[in-house]
Amino acid sequence: MSASSGVADVETRRVRVWDGRIDLRVQVRGQGEPLLYLHPAGGLTWDPFLEDLARDHTVYAPEFPGTSAGDANAVHELDDVFDVVLAYEEAVRALGLAGATVVGQSFGGMLAAELASCFPALFGRVVLLDPAGLWVPEHPYGLGDIMAGPPQNIPTLLFHDPSCAGARAMFAPPADPAAALDGAVALVWAIGCTAKFLWPIPDRGLHKRLHRLSAPTLIVWGEQDALVPVAYAHEFQRRIGDARVVLVPQCGHIPQVEQPEATIAAVREFLGS
């Protein structure tokens, strides 16, 4: 089943997973080799990085259950990361994406790493952009400032330079007040849905499973990430058999938005495209 979405060349496909209890909406854009993109905690947005990938890939981007418009309660169908991983694996198979590349950012990176660890043959390649999912006492970090702190602090948590073009585009509210309100509500609820699997400490045991991740993996990290410290690039790398790390200078938690050129270059080199 498919329907057209608001963006001109984005098609929304719907996949029934989890024994029919979840009507997963997957935005699809572009042409070429299939690529699965897993969005961060704040929900799915098409940024220039994804648009670039869509030039020569068919990008499949599922909306995390609960974050789809009009289907807020879907989040209550998933109790833990195990449920999420199984539901997503069903979706990957239903969409015929087995063997594709998976790219995940932050929460989506954690999800990509979980999927690739639980099902080592599921993906051909794995790209993790500042993923969550590990927490070691040597490098403590918290989500409290972003989940329960003054909202004015959020730009400096996410960006090395909150005045960069990507950050300004991200935080510019739509001119239409009704759209701005809807956007703000959707953002807060999306964080609430994904926080079910992140809060209060974003560690649901991935460190015990990462050794199973056997696909070639690229780990990209903003050197000045103020949310998940850059030290975790190496924490991921040393637990994964075949992983390389690219650190992006002058960059915070969202390299694809703050430093899109460097991020695209690193990902394209890894994908050989």
């Binding site: 209890r21 609960g66 807020a72 989040v75 209550h76 109790d79 409290g144 989940m147 329960a148 702190g149 003054p150 909202p151 309100l181 809807d182 703000a184 509500v185 959707a186 807060v188 609820w189 964080i191 609430g192 849905c193 926080a195 079910k196 699997f197 809060w199 209060p200 400490i201």
Partner: protein, 444 residues
């Protein structure tokens, strides 16, 4: 009317620059830097003494509340102070209710422990317990306790069912919940009151909560965080009675309670002289010093309700309110006994509410002044307001039988049948549990 004295265990001795130095009164406040341990001890001794004083002075009940990581109420588990109070009053033979506004069921990770503690309290007090079940504040349930906000409601619902069933089920039963599992629930003791202590839902009055209270015939205890009661509180009770009419329940005013900060003196001017700075302390360094992000976290409020809240959000207040503003708006009811009587009666009749929770120890109010406030209230306010709604006195099923109430409605426990309620996976033991409660009801 019924009158409850509400005690909080407030640290009363912060320096005057506290609100400038710290952005809030909870969660992040450094303990060792700010407190004199003997003054913390004093807050507990004074607080317990004030509770006992209120009981001796004639309050119908004395209540405590639950707040973790909190400077204005150092009460991570109110059952502890309630236990001390229950024994002291039993020992003195004071016929006063022991009201716990609540162990927060959206927060607790040990729901069965809550059932057990309340049962013990009911035994120690000889059947004087009034049991409250709040959901839990975001900063406490979700931040301090780490419960993902999106799970809070479901956790509350499941925990409520477990507590009610643990109290009322006669035979041991297995509990296969999402948040707790027990092979054979058979708590010792069970509550003394039959079928169980009266239960109230403590809430800030969201529409879903008021409806739930009515559907289950629970008491509804409204906690207000401030503001003009005619603006902040009236819509909640208007809605409450509309839903009651819609559901066809009675309109007994004893269903509901509202709370307020009250300060009584010989004259209005004397009240200002005595209490102004202590009340301002509470609003600048205590309950009034809570940023919005401590009261709501992403996931705690569903999108539709969130949209309503965000659309109606006004600008934040400019600076901490002054005593005169607080009194003028009605956020605080202070003045001579006549002034206080008139205001409270007006609110009670406007809201149609038969129970009042009175905060008489406000902010930094010292011990002797608090006792003075209690004495004036119980001498010059309470007796005069007592007859309001007296025609319902013989139909109060939200009050312990020992203290003149009627037994709690069987509806309160009638949802106790399954672990997961209406959600899928309700596999609790496969027993016929729900049928064994007094009303024989099953989940709606």
């Amino acid at each position: 009317m019924r009158f409850t004295y509400v005690q909080q265990f407030t640290y009363r001795d912060f320096p005057p620059d506290f609100p400038q130095r710290f952005p809030e009164s909870v969660v992040t406040i450094p303990y060792h830097e700010l407190v004199d341990p003997q003054r913390v001890r004093g807050a507990f001794r004074n607080g317990l003494d004030e509770m006992l004083h209120a009981a001796r002075a004639g309050f119908d009940a004395v209540a405590v509340t639950e707040h973790g990581h909190c400077t204005y109420d150092m009460s991570p588990n109110p059952d502890l102070t309630a236990a001390a109070f229950a024994y002291a009053t039993e020992s003195e033979g004071i016929e006063v209710g022991v009201q716990v506004l609540g162990r927060t069921l959206g927060k607790t990770r040990e729901a069965l422990r809550v059932a057990e503690e309340y049962a013990v309290l009911d035994q120690i007090s000889g059947g004087r317990l009034l049991a409250g079940f709040p959901v839990g504040l975001a900063y406490d349930a979700n931040f301090n306790w780490g419960v993902p906000p999106v799970d809070t409601r479901a956790r509350y619902e499941e925990n409520y069912r477990l507590v009610m069933r643990a109290w009322t089920e006669r035979e041991p039963f297995a509990w296969n919940g999402k948040y707790s599992q027990h092979p054979a629930v058979n708590i010792w003791p069970r509550p003394l009151q039959d079928p169980h202590p009266p239960v109230a839902l403590t809430s800030i009055g969201t529409p879903g909560t008021t409806r739930l209270a009515l559907e289950r015939d629970l008491g509804f205890y409204l906690v207000s965080i401030g503001g003009d009661p005619m603006v902040a509180t009236k819509p909640v009770f208007d809605h409450f009675w509309e839903v009651a009419a819609e559901l066809g329940t009675d309109d007994n005013p004893y269903r509901a309670a509202f709370s307020g900060f009250v300060a009584v003196a010989d004259t209005d001017a004397e009240a200002e002289r005595l209490y102004a700075r202590h009340i301002e302390y509470h609003f600048s360094s205590g309950i009034g010093h809570l940023p919005l992000y401590r009261l709501a976290m992403p996931g705690g409020i569903p999108p539709e309700a969130l949209k309503q809240l965000m659309a109606n959000a006004g600008p934040p207040p400019e600076g901490p309110p002054r005593y005169r503003d607080l009194v003028e708006t009605g956020a605080v009811i202070a003045g001579s006994a006549a002034t206080v009587r008139e205001r409270l009666e007006h609110l009670a009749r406007t809201f149609r509410v038969g129970n009042m929770g009175l905060f008489l120890q406000i902010g930094s109010t010292p011990h002797e002044l608090t006792k003075h406030n209690i004495d004036l209230f119980t001498r010059d306010v309470q007796p005069q307001l007592r007859p309001v709604f007296a025609e319902y006195d013989d139909r109060n099923r939200w009050w312990p039988v020992r203290l003149g109430g009627q037994p709690a409605s069987a509806k309160q426990a009638a949802v106790a049948g399954s672990a997961a309620g209406s959600a899928a996976g309700s596999t609790a033991a496969g027993s016929t549990a729900a049928g064994s409660t007094a009303g024989g009801g099953v989940a709606r």
